[in-house]
Structure formats: structure tokens, C-alpha cells
């Protein structure tokens, strides 16, 4: 095979041109093509699954929160912990109307993830004792352009049956 043969040379040239184009695209492409933030709730061992189904009123539940930043820039996030019911869950556009019990803050670089172990105090309204309550965790991020905390539309919740606190 003679590489200087017109057809062979054209084939080699085509291969080199395509490889070069792919190489240039790799160098010039933005670091993050589709930005997103991942947010999840993990159990006390910081693993998925085996979540508690019942809790005593006032108990401190050990859970973990997972956050991953792929927004293309650093991220300052707040996770707002609330307790509500099926009727007061957040939506994709609006947060829950319930007041936050605790706010967890985290700052992450692009491509970084963090697992935050938390002690979620189960203190819903006393009327929910013996009923099902939802532990709600909403993700808010600091909007650099508007200079305020913005609800991302991302949340996780865990339904729990609330038991009367045991006698001391």
C-alpha cells in the first residue's frame, strides 16, 4: 500500500482532519455542558435505603444529606429542614409554607460533592402524634446576580409515623 497514492492519502487526511476537529472541540468546549445540582437524602449510615419509618416525638434522627455541584461554578447552598404533612409538601416551583426548623449551609466547588450528617429533631405539631408527618429538606442556592437565596425546586422528604414520646 503506497500512502502517497491519491486515494490512500485522501483517506489518511480525512482521518486526521476529523481527529483534529474532535480535539479542538474538546479544548474549546465549556467545562459544564448541562449544569445541574444533585440533592439526596441518605440513611444514618449515609447510604441509600433503610430509612426510618417511625420516630418518637422530639427524637433526634440521624440522617445524611448529599449534595453534588455540577453548575459550572462554585455553589453556596442552604438546605432548609421543615416538618409538614402531605398537604404542605413543596412543589417544583414553590417551597413548603412551613417554617424552617434548621438551616444547613454548604459551599462547593464545581464537580464536588458533600455528605452532611445531620440530627433532624422530630418536633411536628403535637396534633400529628399518631399520624404521618413528612420531614422536608428543601434546597436553596444563593443567586449571585439577584443577591438573594432562591428556591431551586429540588426537595426530598421522608414520611414518618410520629409516636408519643416514651415515659422517662
Amino acid at each position: 500500500m503506497n500512502p502517497l497514492n491519491e486515494e490512500v492519502f485522501a483517506a489518511i487526511m480525512a482521518l486526521i482532519v476529523v481527529s483534529s476537529a474532535i480535539g479542538i472541540a474538546q479544548v474549546l468546549r465549556p467545562e459544564t455542558v448541562s449544569p445541574f445540582t444533585a440533592f439526596g437524602l441518605l440513611n444514618e449510615k449515609c447510604k441509600i435505603g433503610d430509612y426510618p419509618a417511625k420516630a418518637f416525638y422530639g427524637e433526634n434522627l440521624t440522617l445524611c444529606l448529599l449534595l453534588y455541584n455540577n453548575e459550572g461554578s462554585p455553589l453556596l447552598a442552604q438546605i432548609r429542614y421543615k416538618i409538614g404533612t402531605n398537604d404542605t409538601l413543596p412543589s417544583d416551583t414553590a417551597p413548603s409554607k412551613k417554617k424552617p426548623i434548621k438551616i444547613y449551609e454548604a459551599m462547593l466547588s464545581q464537580g464536588e460533592n458533600i455528605t452532611i450528617p445531620i440530627q433532624a429533631q422530630v418536633t411536628p405539631e403535637r396534633a400529628l402524634i399518631g399520624k404521618r408527618a413528612a420531614l422536608i429538606f428543601e434546597l436553596w442556592i444563593y443567586n449571585v446576580d439577584e443577591r438573594n437565596w432562591t428556591y431551586t425546586g429540588k426537595w426530598v422528604h421522608l414520611y414518618l409515623e410520629i409516636l408519643e414520646e416514651p415515659l422517662p
Binding site: 500512502p3 483534529s20 479544548v27 461554578s73 444547613y104 449551609e105 454548604a106 459551599m107 462547593l108 449571585v144
Partner: protein, 155 residues
Amino acid sequence: MNKKPVTMLRIIHIIIIVILHVTIVTYSLSPSILPAKASPSKLQREIIGLYIRLVRLSEEGIDTRELINLLSEALELLNNEDNASNIKAQKIVSKVREAVEKLEAERPSIVISKNLSKYGTAAAIASIPVLFYLLFPRIYLELWYKTRRKWVVEK
């Protein structure tokens, strides 16, 4: 007969003035009355301010990972809500502030060198097909002749 309403009016005026004074004095003194609450929130505001500056720097391709990690550490310390952690957080924030100021001062040169290396690499890759097209036949022929230099033509 008219004296009584006039004195009442004066008393009301005095009460209003006293209330206004108390409100103004309380409001102006409130930060010094509550130093423990005021200082972490001030520090938190400073962390947010530094975060905004770091986001702007990272948007220009400047590596801010180390400083973001430091600020994250300061945030964690603030969550502890004790005096020792606050002092540690304050120290970290001061360190980050200095580093951010330095980065902002060096920003133009960092951006230029980043862009030069990025577009330089792209240009180098783009020149490969052209160089191959121009040089490959010559190099190939050169090698072809060199490897066959000692060949003898037989009749």
C-alpha cells in the same frame, strides 16, 4: 377652662418625645448590646461577599477550589455557634479575603495566560492536518530514498 386640654396636649407631646428617644437610643445601641449575635451574621455576610467575588473569578476560568474549600470550612465553623469556632472562622475569612484581593489584582495576567494556552493548544491541533498535508509526502519520500540508498539496479 382652656388650660386643661393644653396641659394634656403637652403631656402627650412629652410622652411621644420620650418614646421616640427611647426607640432611637435602643436602635442605635442594639449592635453593642447584642455583640454575640451581630458578629456571626456580619461574618456570614462577609463570606457571602467573598463567595460572590470567587464566583466572578471562576467564571473567568480562574481556579478557586482551594479558597472555596476554605470558605466552606469557615461556614462549618460558624454553624458550631461557639466563640472559639467564630474566632477560627474569622481567621480563615481574613486569609481568604487577602487571597481573593491578590487573585483580583492578578486577574488580567491570569486570564491572558489561560486564554493563550487554551487557544494556543487549539491552534496547534488545527495545524496538524495542514502540516501533515505539506510535510508527509516529503518526509515519506525522503525516508523511502534513504532506506533504498544502497539498492543496486541489476540488468
